[in-house]
Symmetry: C2
Subunit: 228 residues, 2 copies
DNA sequence: CTTCAATCACGAACACTGTTCGCGAACAGT
DNA sequence: ACTGTTCGCGAACAGTGTTCGTGATTGAAG
């Protein structure tokens, strides 16, 4: 029933190889995800990093998905929390900064955003982030019911933004592709898609940062004023 | 040499078998995705549905991902566009309805939301949706620059909502899991996560619909008023 | 100090996957 | 009737997540 602490694992006689543990497996996986992304991650690579075979990982995690959930939480734990700095900064700016930090941290680990969207947050790293956001909204006088909806919305936005960004990073060709999309819009059928054709330039103009900042402003303003 | 029995070779021209085409492959895949989801989809299943071998699919689509992009667009094409019905309904309500339709349509095809987040929309189904949203915002007097940011934000929100929803549907046990999450929050370390512990009930109270409606209101209000 | 059962690491194997290759059948143009 | 070309697709490949049985390594008992 209750999970007791795992006894220290004695290593086999020879070298002083570091002992296997969930912590070390998660850390190794996190590093691999940063280098290659979740999609390219294989359990064999993880096993090699911790100097064992793939079967050994199953003593610590039921399967690949469970391992990734813990890796995600380790990433959440790395997010720098921006606070109001004793009133120097407003709660809105602190919250916006925390959201940006969440996105950039997640985007550093390509594919983890997808894990985040499929997981209900219960591990400590995610709770830490949620607690901080609740505290900021509390400071801003946001009623708790709305704050509850707000942190869900923020988490969903941050995860999906990280996915979009890391896909664009891995896909490469950042600027060439935009030109390509723009010309696709400009050549769209004017009978079916007149606005897209006419506003092609405007539609492809904003860069990632502009979209992100606009979205964050929409979210925070909305959380502050929208009736529940 | 046990296998000499090949099916009668009447394969060509006026054979009883319908000719292979991108359209028929996409349709077959769409049906399979609705039944089993993207993750469980294999090219062998698709090939079997169109009565061929997996290698033949590569004559029409460069790889699995490209096929899925076309499947996504076929799903977009199914989204029912809600309009203002000659002024009976406001543009906000029409836009909200269209967003809901997009989410429910995508959620009917588990896993397609992830494809949507990784794809820049250029195929006709996505353009049709974007054109409609642009028209509604135009009717509402939203300036084009803000509308451009708006459709991006809406697309991102719809895709990520569909992911969350279909994950929750496939994960099953909708209500039991919520109880579990709630008790996890209630038992959180009060020194580290006081608000989560105190507001556990509030945090787990809103259901999917409440969250979705709140989010849509935040988005539309924000798009209407937030400065660019 | 020896013995023994329990624990746990992990090599090998399994069932599948997306993708490639090359043969051969079916056509169009001589 | 004979090509040259196209293209469907069976078979094979490299690699995946996961399972299982084996054997090494242990703390405690004798």
């Amino acid at each position: 029933m209750s999970e007791q602490a795992r006894p220290p694992i004695a290593r086999r006689g020879r070298s002083a190889k570091p002992p296997l543990s969930s912590r070390s497996i998660v850390d190794a996986t996190l590093a691999l995800v940063r280098e290659r992304g979740v999609d390219a991650l294989t359990l064999r690579q993880v096993a090699e990093r911790v100097d064992t075979g793939p079967a050994s990982l199953y003593a610590y995690f039921a399967n690949r998905d469970v391992l990734l959930e813990h890796v995600l939480d380790a990433a959440y734990a790395e997010v720098r929390l921006v606070d109001t700095h004793d009133g120097e900064r407003g709660w809105r700016e602190a919250l916006a900064g925390t959201i940006v930090e969440t996105i950039t941290t997640l985007a550093r680990y390509p594919g983890l955003g997808s894990v985040a969207l499929g997981t209900i947050p219960v591990l400590p790293g995610a709770l830490r982030l949620a607690e901080h956001e609740l505290a900021l909204m509390d400071e801003g006088g946001v009623p708790p019911g709305r704050a509850a909806l707000g942190i869900d919305l923020i988490a969903q936005f941050a995860a999906s933004s990280a996915i979009e960004r890391s896909v664009r990073l891995l896909g490469g060709r950042g600027d060439g592709e935009r030109q390509q999309v723009r010309s696709a819009y400009e050549n769209a059928d004017p009978a079916l898609f007149p606005r897209i054709r006419r506003q092609a330039a405007l539609l492809t103009a904003p860069d990632d940062r502009a979209r992100r900042d606009f979205a964050i402003r929409v979210l925070i303003d909305g959380i502050e004023r929208t009736a529940t």
